[in-house]
Symmetry: C2
Subunit: 107 residues, 2 copies
């Protein structure tokens, strides 16, 4: 499932740093790699993981490969979290009303 | 880092289903396992992953172990995503104003 790969891709600090970096706009691999202390082949593997799950897309022009962020998967993941929070908060509200009722009854 | 483990824990459909289930309130293992077609030992491993990253907490009373959701890690992960979206949207706004300026200049 799509969310599986997106969440797993985000479970790594190097990959999250790339995502953050790309919010500022498309960036060349060399530029992205400069921010990391990793060897280029390892760094490239992280970019591959991000591209396979759809979080980024790359394009090669001449000898320069440039990455850009694809916001949709991030939005889908964020929505899943927001849904859980909404369910959780609704439950707290229900507990709250229940406690208020109990209080009223014991008055 | 904390976010690493939280995102990786969420990168699995069984574990996400447990999180969703627990938004409705604390639930016993047997009850949680009923929703899954997995053997109990495998299912328990998923619960362990969730507990180790702090997304859930368990308590044993007599012979019954009950799990509950801990909302803080979910909130932290959601906040990270919201930050990326905000940065991304700010960039789009800037692009937008830039294009408008260009249009004005070429009028």
């Amino acid at each position: 499932m799509h969310l599986d790969r997106v969440f797993r891709a985000l479970g790594d600090p190097t990959r999250r740093a790339v995502v953050s970096r790309l919010t500022a706009g498309p960036t060349a691999v060399s530029e992205l790699a400069r921010g990391s202390k990793m060897a280029l082949p390892s760094f490239t593997q992280h970019l591959d993981v991000l591209e396979r799950c759809g979080l980024v897309r790359s394009r090669k022009v001449g000898r320069v490969r440039t990455y850009r962020l694809v916001p949709q998967p991030l939005k889908t993941a964020e929505r899943w979290m927001a849904q859980q929070r909404a369910l959780w908060e609704r439950r707290l509200d229900q507990l709250d009303s229940y406690l208020l009722e109990l209080k009223e009854e014991t008055k």
